[in-house]
Symmetry: C2
Subunit: 282 residues, 2 copies
């Protein structure tokens, strides 16, 4: 199933990351390019594609990988942790899928670096290594690697209707699948059941995996599932959700198609909630 922020078409060339001499050679080569960013957002060229510039000296950078042998990098800029960038959503709406995937990788890595400038174990400063795919502590030597935070996102189904929720910060009319971070000590299936219980008071069984995608705000792995609800009585956790509703397949299809009078406004096409709802409604 094709999901958002995937299909970058890059060879990440993991074997080159530890080869500093070869990476320096690649960065100095005529073919090397570095991603053009405005803050954390992509700066597109006149064709609406990602902008790529010739390499510019000694700035810190991340080796994204090879595309048709061409070495691609991203600048390792400073950024405040936890920046939200709703402005980029309009851009993402019309970007080519592979461009979103490449930019999303760069954005996640940049945010990760900015949240790991110091070692969590000893407080010393850390330094980039592995071509931007790690940081090593200058004090205790501990190595830190860019990971992603798994999030379950799911539809509970009851008698042909899907449970959807609304967070207070959503745009007007928007409803989407419920979601939450996977915690230490639980499986995907347990996290789905716990979150539906916590946020909506819905007990489920028979959790089924549907699809996955990365989400670069700042670095989640979205894991989409469906589950069967035992009942349809909602007990809302108003700290998490403003509202929750049951919608049938016809209503979901209308929302995804943007039909006027649809029961809700659906999530954007690059969000896995969209893919999940489309899968469920089909």
């Amino acid at each position: 199933m094709k999901t958002g922020f995937t299909g970058a078409g890059l060879d990440r060339a993991d074997h080159l990351r530890l080869d500093e001499a070869r990476l320096a050679e690649l960065a100095a080569s005529f073919e090397a390019r570095i991603l053009r960013l405005g803050g954390l957002d992509p700066e597109l060229d006149e064709d609406g594609r990602l902008g790529w510039d010739p390499m510019a000296g000694a700035e810190e950078r991340i080796f994204l990988g090879l595309r048709d042998g061409m070495p691609l990098f991203a600048p390792l800029i400073r950024a405040e942790p936890g920046q939200r960038a709703w402005s980029v959503f309009a851009l993402l709406d019309r970007m080519a899928a592979e461009d979103s995937a490449v930019w999303g990788t760069a954005r996640s890595l940049i945010e990760w670096h900015n949240r790991h400038l110091f070692c969590g174990a000893c407080g010393s400063s850390t330094k980039v290594f592995r071509g931007g795919w790690g940081r090593r502590c200058a004090g205790c030597g501990l190595e830190h690697f860019p990971r992603v935070d798994p999030v379950v996102i799911m539809i509970a189904e009851h008698e042909g209707r899907a449970l959807l929720g609304r967070q207070p910060q959503y745009p007007a009319g928007r409803y989407s699948a419920l979601a939450g971070f996977v915690e230490p000590g639980e499986s995907i299936e347990e996290a789905v059941a716990r979150e539906l219980g916590e946020e909506a008071g819905i007990a489920v069984s028979d959790v089924r995996y549907v699809a996955s995608q990365p989400w670069p705000f700042p670095g989640q792995l979205m894991i989409a599932c469906t589950a069967t609800a035992a009942g349809d009585e909602i007990r809302l956790d108003t700290n998490e959700l403003e509202d929750a509703i049951w919608v049938d397949r016809e209503g979901v299809r209308a929302a995804l198609a943007g039909v006027p009078g649809a029961p809700f406004v659906g999530p954007p096409h690059f969000a896995i909630a969209h893919t999940l709802l489309r899968h469920w409604a089909a």
Copy 2:
């Protein structure tokens, strides 16, 4: 599908984590218990079950949740990051599944705290909050939450045989499913394909999710998949693997049953590789 380190049977009672007064009340109650540990390992009682002690004063602790209304805690001990604890494997081999799940949750959280004593963004020290399910930076105020690192673990299949690999540190004869961390900017399916390509030179399609489980060394989310290999010619990355072999279903069944003369020694029952191999061989 039942997997290892799951089924703790605890109500994690997320709504209580931010309620410091109520948590203090629960910790002071007659029913409260704290997990008995020797270092990071469980200390079992005479019945082979987890040991639980009455609460002991003002030590730092983690609220694990409620079991039949009984508040359960774990001590927040100091531990060196990255400790391996092969010694505990013999213990896990005979522990009740729900005990492994509860202990695994505690171990992952303790390790997480010890790797987040300082803020990665500004280097200041952090302080526990949310009943042990978070740390807040005393300098910049950034909040850190215990997450887990997703790892894909997979069987590539080719004409009825499964690809298995051997890492140098494995016990004698042991082979298992190949595995690797999911990176920023990729889906589960893309990570499976990348890892099989990197470690064994095997190209795959049709990645299928099978099951998941937490792994508390120190805090992974294991995501088990199968995939269809285009060919069977192995090109080994000897930095990652010592050997890789193709084994048919009969061979896998013999290994899992511990039959003498089986083509390899299988992974322990509490590892998801065991569950995955059993599923594939069935």
